[in-house]
């Protein structure tokens, strides 16, 4: 459909990125009231006068949310402002009960940080520095369900139903400075940045960082300028980018869309666009007749946040290992080749592998299970690995059973499949499916004798020294034992039975 290729775009234009990431913190209670934040509760069961904006109600700041925000700032190499304030962002929208959002405006809590991300380029791994402009606190909105019409979407709906359970959940917004200089790697850099942020936030333990549940959301600003120009182009802001892959697709798609317009001599419109997972394209938001004027002013119901140095240093001392350093450390400890390491990161299994190793598994075995069979099953089901019902503990148990000779690799694959199918722990799957290695030599010998008498001609060939012919017999024995035998043991016993040394 698009006449322009990505190569055409990057040969003429330089992309400039700007990324805004919203993170829902995993505090027990909301940002300004004591309502629970548990995901998926019955509608309007987690609301109170404060988060419903009943007349007279007042907000009080959740201390844990402040600490989490400062931790994020520190992890992103930001300065923590000695004095910061909340401000009201005024606009009307039914999912926002007060019709203003408590946010931060000109006095955010964290400023001027950076994150380094590494991606593979044609010249090998290369590091890009993403500068962070600010990290600030705000609150989430409620959720609307659009009823009527055909699409379930907002347009064409007859009316909407509002659930305010999410209203007031603490959000942290992380805003980058403009990111020039990524050239053709812009989509990969954007994706790597969001992935790095996600890893950092997960290591900090401040958020569930589940993009599919909306606890991590990315808005991607993209503009193009002619290569060599230092004038910024008009940007579009793409919202609703809810997976790492979508970040990459959205940036690439917008670059192509902008270039097509620019090549035709048309202007890029400064607007909000919505990313559509199915097509990978963006759709224009309903353009407003006039620009919104948010009329920010200091929130008079709250007092300023002024963290002292002691508090900040205490939080700094509690920072976990930086994910990029941790990756380097694990790669060395496990002696993983670069390519395999990249595959683990790409498949997002590093944490699971580490957890499995910490439970006693051999790193190579742990890695090959997560990256091999389990990844394959995830692909087959078209879900992410973390969505599969198998834990590091399960895998560690399976690795251990294989090592003890209780399972063959083949049987173990069946156990993995059973666990993922929801049949329980590996032990439960083994019990219920009746899986066990036949390591009773007597039973094996009976099967071997049976096979050799049925296929006496082949057996004779082997007896006469034509060892490769044994393969067919081994296969038949395995079939006879329903695959539960250890093939190596079968071979050993068979060759002995036919007067050939096993080797």
């Amino acid at each position: 459909m698009s006449a322009l290729t990505y190569e055409d775009v990057i040969s003429k234009y330089e992309p400039v990125l700007g990324l805004e990431v919203h993170v829902e913190l995993n505090t027990n209670s909301k940002m300004f009231c004591g309502c629970s934040t548990i995901f998926g509760a019955e509608p309007n069961t987690q609301t109170c006068p404060v988060c419903l904006a009943l007349p007279g109600a007042l907000p009080v700041v959740n201390e844990k949310a402040i600490e989490s925000t400062i931790l994020i700032g520190l992890a992103l190499n930001c300065s923590i402002a000695p004095f910061s304030r909340f401000a009201r962002k005024n606009y009307f929208y039914p999912d926002m009960p007060k019709n203003f959002q408590i946010s931060q405006y000109d006095e955010p809590i964290c400023v001027n940080g950076y994150v380094d991300v590494e991606i593979d380029t044609d010249e090998g791994p290369k590091s890009f520095r993403i500068e962070i402009e600010r990290v600030h606190m705000e609150e989430d909105t409620g959720k609307s369900l659009h009823v009527g019409g055909s699409t379930g979407r907002i347009h064409g709906a007859d009316y909407s139903l509002l659930d305010y359970n999410r209203a007031g959940i603490p959000l942290v917004e992380i805003v980058t400075k403009i990111v020039p200089g990524t050239g053709k790697y812009a989509p990969e850099v954007a994706k790597a940045y969001v992935a790095e942020l996600r890893d950092i936030l997960r290591a900090l333990g401040v958020s569930d960082v589940k993009m599919e549940q909306g606890s991590l959301r990315c808005d991607a600003n993209v503009s193009l300028r002619l290569i060599g120009s230092d004038v910024l182009g008009t940007r579009s802001e793409t919202k609703n980018v809810n997976s790492l892959r979508s970040v990459e697709r959205a940036v690439r798609g917008e670059m192509i869309r902008h270039a097509e317009r620019l090549n035709k001599g048309e202007k890029v419109v400064q607007e909000t666009r919505h990313f559509q997972e199915d097509t990978g394209l963006t759709r224009s938001g309903r353009s407003k007749e006039q620009a919104e004027d948010y009329r920010y002013f200091p929130e008079p119901d709250l007092v300023p946040v002024a963290p002292d140095a002691q508090w900040i240093e205490k939080l700094r001392a509690s920072l976990p290992e930086r994910p990029s350093l941790r990756r380097k450390r694990l790669q060395e400890q496990w002696s993983v080749p670069d390519k395999e390491m990249a595959a683990m990161i790409n498949a997002d299994v590093l944490n699971l592998v580490e957890e499995t190793v910490l439970l006693g598994s051999d790193p190579t075995k742990a890695r090959s299970w997560w990256l091999g069979e389990i990844s394959r099953l995830a692909n087959e089901k078209d879900v992410t690995i973390s969505e599969l019902a198998i834990s590091a503990k399960d895998v560690a148990e399976i690795v251990s059973l294989v090592a003890q000779g209780e399972l063959t690799d083949k049987l173990a694959r069946g156990v993995v499949e059973g666990v993922i199918a929801g049949e329980g722990t590996p032990a439960q799957v083994i019990a219920s499916r009746g899986i066990k290695v036949v390591n009773d030599d007597g039973a094996l010998m009976a099967a071997i004798e049976k096979v050799c008498s049925e296929q006496s001609e082949t057996a004779e060939k082997v007896r006469n020294g034509h060892v490769p012919a044994a393969g067919a017999l081994i296969g038949a024995v395995m079939k006879e034992t329903k695959g539960q035998a250890d093939a190596a043991r079968v071979r050993e016993l068979l060759l002995g039975h036919l007067g050939q040394a096993a080797n």
């Binding site: 009080v60 309903r286 008079p300 007092v303 300023p304």
Partner: protein, 99 residues
Amino acid sequence: MSSLSRDDVANLARLARIEMTDQELENLTTEFGVILNAVARVQEVATTDVAATSHPLALTNIFRTDVVIPSLTPEEALSGAPASEDQRFRVPQILGEEA
């Protein structure tokens, strides 16, 4: 010195989500001329060397601990709702950006 046109006032009404009648807009345009002249006096003494006071108290760092306290029941939450359905607030169709 300060004055607003009728269109300016209409734009303010739009921002404030109030559907004003023509007569109201006329009246307010006149009144704002007078009121703004009076309130603009603040600019006489609000020089750059004066700090702004947004709040009478010089408090900082007032927090609550991250503890869950019981919410309203959904019946209480919805008790004032002009319309509700399936334990949710029912509102007319929302025009505007998809959230």
